[in-house]
């Protein structure tokens, strides 16, 4: 094999790998768009292509959309508008004569949408040779290949196997592709089919390769193709580069029959109906529904923001009247807490990425390897270790020793469990305790958790702060820059003379869900799936540091002596907020702190009350107990329901109840003369939000292929992921229970809408500067609407440029007419 071939094949493998997104391990679950490799293509084309490769569904079924119509989530008017957008000349079409009466073509098409025949289930149609051979004779070759490959992956992942020589494997793969008669030009696409056939493990291997620089995916493909060659003998070889014929969509004839039934037409009218239906390809119908659904979800938000600013009474409360300015994570779950807190008292809330802009690796007081506490897009710039605070050395040491003892008891348990003979008695000895314990945890989860907390010394949260992160390795300038990033959110805008409230609360978030291997997926995504409290503590310590403040004052963003930065952590499973290091605050803030504590409690209760209603938990108490109940499959909804990302001052959304479904990022256009801040928001937090949105969407539309299926059969495999049952492909994406409850959708799959109050020029500049952002916007993976000033109407950024968001409105009259006619 020549070196050119060698490099070409390697490039082919790398390119083919893009059909799956990397899958992060369970200890740090990161939401990814399973189709991130398709973002270079327009959205629609991408989900079509994915259907060929995976047999996946990128939207809901027609039946599900119709249920949404029945439930009033989509209106007939909205559907009519969507139809007009898809078939702009629908009104120019000749009317159809049904039973002697003329019926508008639009009405016939609407009837097809609402009552027409459904499309067949999607099917994988870009097949490997072995799959084709199996289809031809009903063999089991693919199962054999899959079993061998899955076991190989499991062995590799558990460290039980070392990769062979990369060059040899490539040569082997090259020979085997040759034996299958796959021509060089088609090899990349052929390898895509193999990757798609075992997408879960391939995703894991992609993550492995990008993390430690191995070439495990290449080895996997070499193995897979070798397995294929060996099971095929001479049963077949590569035939064509194209897909098999897709399962036929509902035929015109079927659709016409259904429409005739729906409209009460006779058999004689079928031909005329079919002729009109010909204007609308069957597969476009789901797209129209999808469009209508998105408008139904997004329309009210945009309208409410516009209406809010129209009768704007934005009373710019002077920050001195505000008890605290609270900076929360942009995570949609912060919205409930922020809204309720604002209603309880004089609070100003802001949204910022929950790692507070600190790209750090943090090692806790108790030691260990520590965790990356920043989005996976970033690499931590520094490592900070937690050390005991002066005067609290003894207490800190006691805490370390306590932790050592719990670690030692873990070790003792493990030593007995992994001993060759001991398990025979361990099972017997531990059984007498384990059985009653299991019964207790199941029958009385809250009480058991309470006892466990007391035994572990938790619950009695010590009021004294005993440790801090050692920041000596960081320059004061760097720290000032990071703190400045937070001040930029509009906390200290020039027109207020840079005045801040007495307290600025930095509120990270975390979650607790017992017996859930994907628990980290509920924690802060901006902190790489970890709790955000530590970041808040580091950021607050920086902002309270007199040296940092001195530099900030030099830079023109002073922090007054009367302002104290306070860290907090929001537990999203209970909606309780815990203040961290509160005892360090100067005595003058004691009253403020007491008030803040009370208000946070009231706001948290209100927020939990709202969630108890949506989650179907009987009461707030029951809802809060869910995280500690090992039998409970959904402790909280996570980011389910997310559909929009608002970038702008809080005034945009202040009076709105956004139902925990919108990311809120604070942004002051007036403070951002050069657009750098907006550019940073669009290229980092917005992109991450899109990953989250896409993961939820695709897990909801196809819970088996893009989601990880039901939790009931999950079988965790180390830290790597979960299997469904004893083996097979690794699962990726969200569990069924996170996106659906029976027939009900917990997450409505609609693409993310970014709503920006800021200069369109700055947005264009950001799009020009970032290929990722350009693809997302111009290929319709997200829609972005913007306006420069309150009072203006929103425009939408498309591939062609800026168009009015309300483009449908000019026609909505027509749409209404056509609906009323039917």
């Amino acid at each position: 094999m020549s070196s050119i071939t060698h490099f070409r094949l390697r490039d082919d493998i790398d390119a083919a790998a893009a059909v799956v997104a990397p899958s992060w391990p369970l200890s740090s679950v990161i939401a990814v768009n399973p189709l991130s490799g398709f973002e270079g293509q327009p959205y629609r084309q991408a989900i079509d292509r994915a259907e060929l490769l995976f047999g996946s569904r990128g939207h809901l079924t027609l039946a599900e959309y119709r249920r949404a119509l029945g439930a009033g989530r989509i209106t007939t008017e909205g559907l009519g508008e969507a139809l007009l957008r898809a078939v702009p000349d629908v009104e120019a079409l000749a009317p159809v004569s049904i039973g002697g009466q003329d019926v508008d073509a639009a009405e016939v098409l609407l009837a097809d949408l609402v009552g027409g025949a459904d499309d067949p289930a999607p099917q994988r149609s870009l097949l490997t040779v072995a799959e084709e051979a199996d289809q031809a004779d009903g063999g089991q070759r693919v199962r054999t290949i899959d079993l061998a490959c899955a076991e190989w992956c499991a062995a590799l992942a558990s460290g039980d196997l070392q990769l062979g020589d990369a060059d040899e494997l490539l040569a082997q793969l090259y020979d085997d592709l040759d034996r299958l008669r796959v021509p060089a030009y088609a090899q990349r696409r052929y390898l895509e089919r193999h990757i798609a056939a075992m997408a879960g493990w391939a995703s894991h291997l992609r993550w492995r390769d990008q993390t430690d620089g191995t070439r495990s995916l290449a080895a996997f493909l070499a193995l897979r193709v070798r397995a294929e060659v060996s099971v095929l003998s001479d049963a077949g070889w590569f035939q064509s580069d194209g897909p098999l014929p897709r399962p036929a969509a509902a035929s015109l004839r079927e659709r016409a029959a259904a429409v005739a039934l729906y409209l009460g037409a006779g058999d004689g009218d079928l031909d005329a109906i079919a002729a009109t239906l010909g204007r609308l390809p069957a597969r476009d119908r789901a797209q129209i529904w999808h469009d209508a659904y998105e408008r139904a979800v997004h329309g009210p938000l945009v309208a409410a923001i516009e209406a809010g600013s129209a009768n704007s009474t934005t009373s710019t409360t002077a920050p001195s009247d505000v008890l605290a300015q609270v900076i929360c994570c942009i995570d949609v779950r912060s919205e409930g807490l922020r809204r309720n807190l604002e209603q309880v008292g004089a609070y100003e809330t802001h949204g910022y990425a929950g790692f507070f802009g600190l790209p750090l690796h943090l090692v806790p007081l108790t030691g260990g390897s520590g965790t990356d506490q920043c989005p996976v897009l970033l690499t931590p710039s520094d490592t900070l270790c937690e050390v005991s605070r002066p005067g609290a050395e003894a207490t800190a040491q006691r805490q370390i020793e306590r932790r050592r003892l719990t670690a030692a008891s873990d070790d003792a348990w493990r030593a007995a469990k992994y001993h060759p003979v001991a398990p025979l008695a361990l099972a017997e000895g531990a059984g007498w305790l384990a059985g009653p314990l299991a019964a207790m945890r199941t029958a009385m989860p809250s009480a058991t958790a309470w006892i466990a907390d007391r035994l572990m010394g938790r619950g009695r949260s010590s009021q004294r702060s005993i440790a801090e992160f050692d920041r000596t390795s960081l320059s004061i300038e760097q720290q000032a820059t990071w703190v400045g990033g937070m001040l930029n959110l509009g906390l200290a805008s020039p027109q207020r003379d840079g005045e801040l409230a007495p307290l600025v609360v930095l509120c990270g978030h975390t979650s607790r869900d017992d017996n859930n291997p994907a628990e980290s997926g509920l924690a802060c995504g901006a902190c790489a799936g970890h709790a955000g409290g530590s970041n808040a503590r580091v950021a607050a310590a920086m902002a309270n540091d007199p040296e940092v403040r001195a530099i900030l004052a030099e830079r023109g963003t002073p922090i007054g002596d009367g302002t104290w930065f306070l860290a907090a952590e929001h537990d999203t499973s209970t909606d309780r907020v815990q203040l961290l290091d509160a005892d360090l605050a100067p005595a003058g803030h004691a009253g403020h702190l007491r008030q803040l504590c009370e208000d946070l409690q009231v706001a948290g209760d209100a927020s939990a009350h709202e969630r108890a209603t949506t989650l179907g938990a009987g009461s707030v108490r029951q809802l809060r107990a869910r995280g500690r109940d090992w039998a409970e499959p959904v402790a909280e909804l996570g980011l389910a329901g997310n559909h929009a990302f608002v970038i702008g001052p809080r005034q945009l959304t202040q009076r709105l109840n956004l139902d925990r479904r919108v990311f809120l990022h604070s942004y002051e256009p007036d403070d951002d003369i050069d657009g750098a801040t907006l550019g940073a928001i669009l290229t980092a937090p917005l992109v991450v939000a899109q990953w989250i949105n896409a993961q939820y969407n695709f897990s909801a539309t196809d819970p088996e292929i893009f989601g990880s299926g039901s939790k009931a059969v999950h079988n965790p495999i180390g830290d790597i992921g979960v299997l469904s049952g004893p083996g097979g492909d690794l699962r990726r994406g969200l569990a069924l229970q996170s996106v659906r409850a029976g027939e009900e959708l917990l997450h409505e799959p609609v693409r993310l809408l970014a709503v920006v109050e800021g200069s369109p020029h700055h947005i264009d500049a950001a799009i020009d500067g970032s290929e990722t952002l350009r693809q997302l916007i111009e290929n319709d993976w997200i829609s972005l609407v913007a306006r420069s000033n309150a009072g203006e109407r929103f425009s939408r950024r498309t591939a062609e440029g800026w168009v009015p968001w309300h483009s449908g409105e000019t026609r909505s009259q027509a749409a209404q007419e056509l609906v009323h006619a039917s």
């Binding site: 369970l26 079993l147 062979g164 193995l223 397995a227 030593a415 001991a422």
Partner: protein, 511 residues
Amino acid sequence: MKSDASTLLLAATLVLPLLAAVLPIRLAGRTIAVAALLAGLATLDALSGSTVEAGTFAITGLTGLFALLVTGMGATVLSFATRALRDEPYQQRFATVGSLLVASGVVLATATDLALLIAAWVATSALTVALIRTGPGAGSTERSIRARRSFWISDAAVIVGGAVIIGATGQSGLGQIDGSSIGAWGPLAAILLVIGAATRSATVPFHRWLPDSLGAPTPSSALLHAGVVNGGAMLLIKAAPVSTDLRAGAILALALGAVSCVFAEAVMLTRADVKGRLAWSTIAQMSFTLVLCGVGLPLAAGLHLVAHGLYKGNLFLGSGSGVRALVRGRTAPPPISRLDGRTLGLLALPAMAVAAVLAVRMSGAEFTANLAIPAFLATVTGAAAATGWMRRTHGFAPRAAGLAAASLLVWGFVALTAALKVRIGTTTSLSDGILHPALIVPLFVALVAVAIARNRVRPAGSVQDRLWKAIRQAGQPTRPRGQLLSSRARATDPSTKPLAIPALSGSLTRS
């Protein structure tokens, strides 16, 4: 002494699970919880010396514990599934099948008539298959087909074996059957019963059904591993005079159990998935109980069954908790011990041995093999745990405290076992075995050898390397052969042959 109240308790324990089968899942769980409570009371009564009987059912110390295990875990699992399987379309079916399975388990535990026992056995087989099928539709046949086939063997063996016993002795009451009266038919009956039991206990070579069943929902697995697989050893204990008290039965149980225990242990070491490890560990543990039955230690076997069921049920229900433990390990102070594990282990071993011997002496029980083996195992376990503890801690006080705590646990465990054995031994007549209990020692040696071999560096291509690859492949979830193939395709399909690819290319060495 016969107690009327206890008769009522027993009758209610039998009836309530049947009632639960027609109730919605929430109520079903509670109903079975009541049954568990009643079974507990009846067991206490039996342990205090009363005769608890109702028709052809009776609760003794040991069978009472069986009934308590089945109802207790049944109630826990149903209550768990009330939440865990919420919104799953098969939730109610799970409740119905689960309740019926508990009902048949209680009959199996308490029946005193062989014919009745066999009927419950067959019902348990059918219900177990139904339980494994309950769950996500995809793969429901695949995960249950091996169970169906194995249980077919199991049912046939037990029915024929039972018929031989009843025919040869003319007795069907388990209390009346006398092993000596069966004559020449004895070995056949014993072998059939052991085969039936081994199948239910997922012992080699009938073990595949258990790992295959992992595709069923978590609560189903908990119920299977806590309540169903025990049926095998339970049968042997109850029918000991015509199974393991006879030489053929004893030898077969010992041989099957020992081979299976070592094999399952080896396979378990190669599995990375939580449930796979649990399933293979169950196979090893059930094989161990078969060994105990074989060497004539039915009491030790019975207690092991019950405690293991409780243990494994808990681990299955909590199978999603491992990741947090892993993360927790990343924030712990590193081990700083200067003493190595061997030294610490040698320190711990005598302490545990003293605790175990003290417990036996204080209980006043006879130091027979029925107690010696658990005492020995507890000593080893305590020493292993104490070593683990002492490697992470430093200084005298925490280490001494750990050692003391481990000793106390060993003492408590041995004392409890001794007390239970005294109580059960005086209330249940159990005969001595025919094989010498010391025959169990080679099993322990073999288990240690497997663990040592696993941790050795294995050069690629060496015998050891190939052996471990074979073991790993033995643990692979495979499809049941011939299941979906048409006969025509089977004739030509090369994939039904073992795959001759280097399925695990590269060297199987520990890094």
